[in-house]
């Protein structure tokens, strides 16, 4: 298929319609920057509100113009519009909106409610959208870097905090190394296949494989593992989660996971499908290490952000297992896991945000002692989310794990099933510990009352309700994930 023929040289509005999300975001980002300059100190709340409007309008535009019924290539094959991208973009828009909604009071209380924060969130979102729709190594890299650079800046956003600056620095340096690895791997692949187009790479990179392709693949797998936070490329993750302002932890703990799922899918499962035997062999030990290290190290954490960071790592292990299976069902399972994880992480980091107040970060585990007595709703929501991540029915996390077990059995990975099952029991312990602190212990000293507004509480309650609803009726989401991949 010649991509030039598809896009017809001349671009008309209708041919650009599938990319409406990105176009809208670019326009909105420019306007928001201007608005923020003119709004000044007095109207600090204007940009946050406008951002939510931008996201809502973006979702509306995506639904009305951006839907495609079949795989469509744009921009000379650099960009692909398909149903997967469409759904992931809508999910990302929603998650960003909810994350920003949870964060607003936190930012205001710490004096960092600035327009740039929202602009950076939108540029990160733009990066995610580009990545999700990438059909060329170039576009992939563009999306990855746009997302990463925005996020580095967000981590350092609280510029007076030494911890945040340190976290941002670590993230940036290590991220740069990963980007280097990604680029190097891409250059090898490009050199040996002679194309940047993922569709054509898929057609050219197949057995018998040139050794150079495998070498390039190694570098790409390293970069992907770094982005996902798979052991042993996970070192940045706990430090960044802990050091970043909690609202940023919420952000980087949720939306980028959607993007990195897409990165793994587009690069490895689609572009380098011919090397599936090789990369699934590389990913399998990574997944095992990730599960073991993530779950074991989480056991001894005293900071809840660090705890959830290691919990993220453990969950990434499951997502990688979906890819190890190496079948469309496996990718669908990984997608389901990613979406379920993002939904749960959104709520749990949201609870951390809302449990704190001015001058009280609520990031130590001890701060959660007796949370039930301080704020029953937060404790209830957190309990449900912890049970969900532990993989206990009636919550969505159960189905995510079940689906991964299923695809592993289908692809005959007996030992991976056993390891995943055993580590998830270890994992259950630290989730139970959080519940124990909230429900069984009494608060230490007098902690300030929580100040979350009714609207945010409602959002959090809906978030938890979604976790239960999807836990009782997972069918539609499972079907959707399967349809998107096949």
């Amino acid at each position: 298929m010649n991509p030039l023929a598809m896009s017809d040289g001349l671009m008309s509005w209708s041919s650009l319609a599938p990319a409406v999300t990105e176009i809208w975001l670019v326009i909105a980002i420019c306007y928001l920057l201007l608005v923020d300059v003119f709004a000044g100190e007095r109207h600090r709340g204007l940009t946050p509100t406008l951002t939510l409007v931008v996201l809502a309008a973006g979702a509306a535009l995506t639904v009305s113009c951006g839907h495609v019924t079949e795989r469509t290539l744009l921009f000379n094959g650099l960009y692909v519009a398909d149903e997967l991208g469409y759904v992931l973009k809508l999910a990302a828009l929603l998650v960003v909106a909810v994350a920003l909604l949870y964060s607003r009071a936190y930012l205001a209380e710490r004096g960092i409610l600035r327009g740039e924060y929202y602009v950076l969130a939108l540029t990160a979102l733009l990066g995610i959208c580009v990545l999700v729709s990438a059909n060329s190594l170039l576009t992939v890299y563009l999306g990855v870097e746009l997302l990463a650079l925005s996020v580095y800046a967000m981590v350092a956003f609280d510029r007076d905090s030494g911890l945040s600056a340190e976290a941002a620095m670590k993230y940036f340096v290590l991220g740069a190394i990963a980007s280097g690895a990604l680029l190097y791997g891409m250059s090898l692949i490009y050199g040996l296949t002679g194309t940047l187009d993922l569709t054509q790479i898929a057609a050219r990179a197949h057995a018998p494989l040139h050794l150079g392709v495998i070498l390039g693949l190694v570098f790409i797998v390293v970069a992907v593992a770094f982005k996902l936070g798979a052991v042993p490329f996970h070192m940045w993750l706990p430090d960044v989660y802990e050091g970043a302002p909690t609202s940023v932890t919420l952000f980087i703990g949720t939306v980028p996971k959607i993007a990195y799922f897409a990165l793994t899918l587009r690069l490895l499962a689609q572009g380098l499908a011919g090397t599936e035997a090789q990369w699934s062999q590389m990913l399998a030990p990574l997944a095992v290490l990730t599960l073991v290290v993530g779950n074991l190290v989480a056991l001894v954490q005293t900071n809840i952000k660090r705890l959830l960071a290691y919990s993220t790592i453990a969950n990434v292990g499951f997502i990688v297992l979906g890819f190890v299976a190496g079948t469309p069902d496996g990718y669908a399972a990984a997608l389901f896991y990613t979406l379920a994880y993002v939904l749960v992480a959104l709520g749990s980091f949201g609870v951390i945000l809302l449990a704190g107040t001015r001058g009280f970060e609520a990031d130590r585990l001890d701060d959660y002692r007796g949370l039930y007595q301080r704020d029953p709703l937060l404790a209830l929501v957190m309990m449900m989310l912890m049970f969900s991540t532990a993989g206990v029915p009636i919550f969505v996390g159960f189905w995510a794990k079940l689906r991964i077990f299923q695809v592993l059995w289908e692809s005959h990975h007996l030992w991976l099933v056993v390891i995943a099952a055993a580590t998830s029991v270890v994992g259950a312990y630290y989730y139970l510990r959080v519940i124990k602190l909230m429900y069984f212990d009494d608060p230490q000293g007098s902690l300030p009352a929580t100040t979350a507004s009714a609207g945010v509480r409602l959002a959090l309650a809906l978030n938890a309700a979604a976790v239960v609803a999807l836990g009782i009726r997972p069918g539609p989401l499972l079907d959707l994930c399967a349809r998107l991949i096949h």
Binding site: P393, W409, L432, I435, K436, R473, G475
Partner: protein, 501 residues
């Protein structure tokens, strides 16, 4: 009523959610909602028994709705002669728990009642599910309320006990899930009947048997994975202990009957001696352990493990009997005994924990040494306590006799030595139970606290009275219960004996 089972599951859950929403501020209304909800469930369990057709082994009151089409998983419910009595037992035992907690629970009472009601629905779901995925769904979900019940309303070491309880059961269940998924991948659906009919090689059966065994042996609990139970029982509030002993332990036995025997008959036949050995160890060794306990709840907990040993013994001697006699005729007796033992133990252990609760509410101690001569100040209570204690030792005329007797008779057919070892329980059980009664109930008034005891109030009398009637009824006239189970057990026997190879 074609959706009776759904009502039995969701009515208590709805009542529980309502109580939780009413909150601690409206606890007066909340208590009544809880009581009415549990009573209504019990009343609805009546028709389940009445309209149950005792001439067939087929699943009755069936319901099937599509649940997750992608997995071919159905919201499938139905009961047979094994599950129906357990559903009724669950509905029956929740009412005393609600009444017993009426005024005793001061901290977060709304959540207390809500947790028990929700758990009732989930437990009925476990027994009624005909789809393995739905079964697992209820089986795991049930852990959440129990975890909270022990952790929030438990004793001093409640946190240790509840986390141990959760992790033990979770560990077992995860491997059961892995086995279920394996069979799903082979067969393409999760229906229990489908899994029972699924052909499996001996190697597959062995692994699946081990996975199931991990899940069910922890739940029963069998030696050596029983150690969570004494901790959980001692620390749980009275209601929690009652439900744990009366219903949750039965799920292990139920699992063996529903999953292990029919799905992996050849592996069960091959590994039966191991299970029998573990059961006999539970009966004898744990009986000795019970003898030395200083804590009343711990003593009853160990007694539970010993009594549940009879259940697993009764289930697995079937293979030995068939090996010895070559006929099925006597084999059913072991299973009959196991089933009756489960029902009977549910009633008796629940009643004993309620008795301990009555004492604990007054004296705030579970140590045997803190009591003595209770009969002088609480004669009515003492009468009940002695009755349940005697039932626990297997006195003829009480339900405890029927189950143990059937199992011992059946084990004679299997081997004289099994029967001899199993019969040791008659001595040991009598020893630890009667010694407990002697030290707590009889003798002179031990101290000022015992001297100040008030006898049973109306609520407690009703609760213990109802349980006493049930214990005596099953003991004197077990025929209806046996009749209900008969066709299903016959069917199960043919499944368990048939080979899949």
């Amino acid at each position: 009523m074609h959706n009776l089972l759904s009502i039995l599951i969701w009515l208590p859950i709805a009542a529980g959610v309502l109580v939780m929403l009413l909150g601690d501020r409206n606890i007066v209304a909340g208590r009544w909602v809880a009581l009415l909800g549990s009573l209504a469930t019990l009343l609805l369990a009546g028709p389940l028994w009445m309209h149950f057709d005792t001439s067939t082994a087929a699943l009755q009151f069936p319901e099937t709705l599509p649940w997750i089409p992608r997995f071919q998983a159905y919201y499938g419910l139905g009961v047979d002669g094994i599950s129906m009595p357990l559903v009724v037992l669950t509905a029956f035992m929740t009412v005393p728990v609600v009444i017993a907690g009426w005024s005793v629970i001061q901290a977060r009472p709304a959540q207390y009642f809500a947790a028990f009601l929700i758990m009732e629905g989930l437990m009925i779901g476990v027994f009624a599910a005909t789809d393995a995925l739905l079964f697992y769904f209820f089986w795991e979900a049930m852990l959440i309320p129990m975890f909270l019940i022990i952790g929030i309303w438990g004793g001093p070491r409640r946190v240790y006990a509840t986390i141990k309880f959760f992790l033990y059961t979770f560990l077992g269940s995860v491997f059961m899930l892995a086995a279920l998924i394996y069979m799903y991948v082979k067969s393409g659906n999760y229906s229990i009947a489908g899994l029972q009919a699924l052909p499996l090689t001996l190697i597959e059966q062995r692994w699946i048997f081990v996975a199931f065994f991990l899940a069910f042996a922890v739940k029963v609990p069998m030696f050596p994975v029983h150690t969570w139970l004494p901790d959980a029982h001692v620390e749980a509030p009275t209601g929690g202990s009652v439900i744990l002993a009366a219903i949750m332990l039965k799920m292990g036995g139920y699992g063996f009957l529903r999953f292990s025997l029919p799905i992996t008959p050849d592996a069960s036949r091959e590994l039966d001696l191991a299970v029998i050995a573990l059961s006999l160890i539970a009966v004898i060794y744990i009986g000795f352990v019970a003898l030395v306990q200083q804590d009343m709840k711990k003593l009853i907990a160990y007694s539970s493990i010993a009594h549940m040993g009879f259940v697993t013994l009764g289930v697995f001697i079937v293979y030995q009997i068939v090996r010895n006699t070559g006929s099925l005729s006597g084999a059913g007796m072991g299973m009959d005994g196991a089933m009756v033992q489960m029902i009977s133990h549910g009633l008796i252990s629940g009643a004993l924990f309620l008795c301990v609760g009555v004492l604990y509410d007054r004296v705030h101690s579970r140590q045997i040494a803190d009591y003595g001569g209770v009969i002088n100040t609480m004669p009515v209570f003492a009468a009940f306590f002695v009755l349940f204690a005697l039932a626990n030792t297997g006195l003829p005329g009480t339900s405890g006799f029927v189950g143990e007797f059937l199992v011992i008779i059946a084990s004679f057919r299997a081997s004289f030595w099994y029967a001899l070892l199993a019969a040791v329980t008659l001595v040991l059980g009598a020893a630890y139970t009667l010694w407990l009664v002697k030290r707590v109930v009889f003798g002179p008034v031990a101290n000022s606290k015992v001297a100040a005891l008030q006898d049973l109030n109306g609520r407690e009398f009703i609760v213990l009275g109802a349980l006493a009637i049930a214990v005596l009824l099953v003991g004197v006239w077990p025929a209806p219960l046996l009749k209900v189970m008969q066709p299903t057990i016959q069917h199960l026997l043919t499944q368990a004996i048939a080979t899949k190879l």
